[in-house]
Symmetry: D2
Subunit: 350 residues, 4 copies
Amino acid sequence: MTTFKAGLVGVTGYTGMELARLLCGHGGLRLVRATSRSDAGRTLDQLFPGLGGLPVGGLTVSQPDVDDLARACELVFLAVPHGTAMDMAAALVERGVRVVDLSADFRIKDPATYAQWYGLEHRHPGLIADAVFGLPELYAPAIRAARLVANPGCYPTSAILGLYPALSRGLAEADGLVVDSKSGATGAGRKAAVGSLFCEVADTFRAYNLGRHRHTPEIEQELSRFVGRDIRVSFNTHLLPINRGILSTCYARLARPATLAEVHAAYADAYADAPWVRVLPQGALPETKNVRGTMFCDIGLVVDPRTDRLIVVSCIDNLCRGASGQALANANLMLGLDPAEGLRLAPLVP
Amino acid sequence: MTTFKAGLVGVTGYTGMELARLLCGHGGLRLVRATSRSDAGRTLDQLFPGLGGLPVGGLTVSQPDVDDLARACELVFLAVPHGTAMDMAAALVERGVRVVDLSADFRIKDPATYAQWYGLEHRHPGLIADAVFGLPELYAPAIRAARLVANPGCYPTSAILGLYPALSRGLAEADGLVVDSKSGATGAGRKAAVGSLFCEVADTFRAYNLGRHRHTPEIEQELSRFVGRDIRVSFNTHLLPINRGILSTCYARLARPATLAEVHAAYADAYADAPWVRVLPQGALPETKNVRGTMFCDIGLVVDPRTDRLIVVSCIDNLCRGASGQALANANLMLGLDPAEGLRLAPLVP
Amino acid sequence: MTTFKAGLVGVTGYTGMELARLLCGHGGLRLVRATSRSDAGRTLDQLFPGLGGLPVGGLTVSQPDVDDLARACELVFLAVPHGTAMDMAAALVERGVRVVDLSADFRIKDPATYAQWYGLEHRHPGLIADAVFGLPELYAPAIRAARLVANPGCYPTSAILGLYPALSRGLAEADGLVVDSKSGATGAGRKAAVGSLFCEVADTFRAYNLGRHRHTPEIEQELSRFVGRDIRVSFNTHLLPINRGILSTCYARLARPATLAEVHAAYADAYADAPWVRVLPQGALPETKNVRGTMFCDIGLVVDPRTDRLIVVSCIDNLCRGASGQALANANLMLGLDPAEGLRLAPLVP
Amino acid sequence: MTTFKAGLVGVTGYTGMELARLLCGHGGLRLVRATSRSDAGRTLDQLFPGLGGLPVGGLTVSQPDVDDLARACELVFLAVPHGTAMDMAAALVERGVRVVDLSADFRIKDPATYAQWYGLEHRHPGLIADAVFGLPELYAPAIRAARLVANPGCYPTSAILGLYPALSRGLAEADGLVVDSKSGATGAGRKAAVGSLFCEVADTFRAYNLGRHRHTPEIEQELSRFVGRDIRVSFNTHLLPINRGILSTCYARLARPATLAEVHAAYADAYADAPWVRVLPQGALPETKNVRGTMFCDIGLVVDPRTDRLIVVSCIDNLCRGASGQALANANLMLGLDPAEGLRLAPLVP
């Protein structure tokens, strides 16, 4: 297999850690740069002792430097906050490097919507059109040709995959959708904050950002494509006392009476060629442990004739499928590698 | 204070444990009987070492015996499964003992609905009309006069208290309600079952019984009263990796445009005389730890003008407010004691 | 009951929170001041929503001011870091206010030992002799007369209570002691730090500070008293993914052959008048949940004739018995109140 | 690579699940039989939905049948309880099948010791001498030649690897050893038992079986080999509220004064050719998350001159290194495969 050289900008957060973990088992990408402003000079296994003795563990963290990255790497993953990522992406793309941006900077096609939800004017609006939304099940051909991929958000990955068949095939009404999502604590990142302390998160559960989470416009943008018009979604988030995992319970009205068997067949058909989407058997419901550490999106379906509702439960690992694993899948596609390389992962249960 | 003598049938489960805990700090009720078929002959502190050195710890568990209970007790708590409770309740009421039944046997007013959801014909339908649904905020006068109280289910307590002001005051549409509930693992009881093992529940999250949880008819019965006609609710449950706590996120359409301030004022007014219901300040959302071990029901309100929705987040401790604490409040009312006796509880945080 | 006025300096940490919780149920102490440099001006229930609707919830946090505290309070609890506490304690004692200092500043009788382990010269060495080590089971008479109580550390409380009968009665050899302690995460405090994040602590376990934890000299000081000569202890700490609780497994050589029954009888005798120390039945071992939220110290005893060892397992709630509850017991003693006032607590299980 | 055919007897427990997970990523072993008395007829992914879409997921579970296993498999893993395993092992070995026995049946060389600790007379004592104790770092040559490997216990793996250099090189005194071990809840297996319920294990910590855990003789047998005479160890166990992981804190007296640098060098030398043993840098201590899902044994070293002690902290994943991963390593050796095949695993953090 050809081996490509990859860089990772922002290695100290959980998405950076996860990408480092995944690259330990990848035959076609070699990590040659990992950057951090605060930890340059240390090796990766000094930062993350779990990486000791593994292929990437000995790499020395460097300061982020666009020219150095451009010389050393064929593809760069950006695991830095939105706002920061856009400039780095623009500079790298300009230098001919392929970029997978894990931030939100290039996910929203409409700069005004981006500005409204992120409180920030986009500084490279001309590049937005070039960026491909990196959901492999939906956009693989475009991703293969892309120089810049906007890696989807974790919540949107679960919601969009969960609702795609229902909306694109007209099973569910597009109005009045409710997505009730619950996420593990890695979603809050690795910043020191009182609200993320063990003693503030363990053995408790809370709702947050109801109706105003920044992933809302990303979900609405993609779901609107499926139905051909702009729709609004009530998207609401909760914090789970677990490390990894998102489970989204999606509530829709049935567009017409349908049996569970019919809905299940439509989902199975929609994802027939998508090995990472597991439409569970009728009657089964997903749980986060079954996707832990993997690329799987598990989907459970419920038709409730009492209330004329279709309930879709969609479940992913927010760090792997919802961030770094998906980024790696996009990199595989962009570089012409086997899409599954490094991602044939079995869940760690329990 | 007058001291009444109380019995507890079914002490080995979590609701029995919790009631024993609460009675340690109650000045007007003395536990004189605690029964268990499997553990008779042992003392309570042998069963539950945490009760060592506490007022109830030395009590010897006895076999359940209706005549013995009737002689010894003025009031009996039934913490046994539905189906079993109805016979015991009937026998005790017949003997002139007041009964608080923590099971579902007398919650559903319509025997046919009971039979449909619980798969069981009611053997004492004549007693159902006498039973009062034990939600103190709504039915205190009737509870005071009752000889049999049907203690509400845990999920219904959260959902009914959460939606009562919205529905009774016409703030929300009664059709299309979605209640997305998440419960701690004590809700599954203390039975040895693989699905309840630590390694099956910890660090994971799952949905279960979507659209067909047995608490559905209880919720629909009470919410229907508020709107004066039969309504249906999409009620859906999830298992949290925490010990105690239920958080229900309730989705309704606004019946008419309203500001958060208006909705908040209506809730504050509805619960002005309800010290255990804390309508949180505008912008605040509840979390389970803040009600841990207490009678509080914390309610957070969100008005989302983008989607014309009212979202009510209602949060209780499923064991205390959702079961044994509420049972004690009902006992206080039935016996003419201060309703708050033994229940002035501050949450254990963290 | 006479009601005394109390102040709490440093309310924003977990020990401050816990003291506020306990004072909600105390009949003889009224919290009239709660201070914080960062949160002055907010009410306690704004800081800690769990306190809403409770007696202390409406108190407005103020800036720490010695003169104001001295005017308003008869007793002040110091829940601030070592180094800071000593000056505040000195100033308050000088103004005639009784002080319970939850920091380490007055625990170590030898200023040189303090300086060595805490890296700090004591600025009020003259006050050290006046301070009483606040372990009620051992020093109640002196505590009653004290104007300054040094509230013991959490680990030392478990180790000292665990080994006191064994050493004072000559059951165990004083040399070669090993104390292997495990603590919940509240022990690390409520500071924002990456190492205390949920995702760094949950579902994992680690050792830390082996052989060099600052509680070592405090343990050695007290154990040395029991045997009448200076001894050294191998004291070693680990971080548990739980909120509250310390369990110390203490390893000693038997001083002479002894049966479990003999050792158990000696422990039972030593703690015959100590209602908060529960010497568990022979064969039983403690667990942290059974002391959660309470003053209990549960002790389990093992005699292992294969290795001639006595193993003592000692278990407390680090926040309640190991900090704020013990502070309240000391305040009760200092003020002539019932020592158990506000502390008749049943554990929250599960 | 040659592909061998493997069988797994007892697939429904956690060690069976873990072996199935690991075989998904193994290039030289194909799982052709998985047996269970209770679940025969179902596919593996019906039992464990996490295995859906993975190489082993479609395998149908069969009843255990020695002749069928012997015909179909070149090597069989036994993941059944001790007592049951010995007969199955004997029958399979007799039929020429290589066996890796994950139970304790062939670990103890002395049948009398086995009978004493396991309460069971060994029915195949003649086979014990043929069985090789499957710790690859110590016995790889014998494992390569073995027809029956006794896979070490989880606790013993951590204790033996932790103390091997200290004892074999005379750094530590062999008398008076204390091993204080803490294990995650998967160690208790997947049996329905009240004591293993989430609500009995979460947010709590307890000691159990102090001085009488069945892994004691296995530890003593191996450590005695290192010092050339029979020694006794005080081995003591605790239950952690985590899924996977064992951390053993081992206390020894230094045999002679030594610096940490000297001890560290000796450990590094002892494990220079052992890629799965990571002797951590001086000053670093292990934690379970860094070995999660892997074969690593992380060792941290502390020399405490105050107490003349060497403290060794040894940490493994009890399911992978302590059971199924080690079994797979043994199988690799027995079959002449690359010892690391299927086991180049990076830890899942967090």
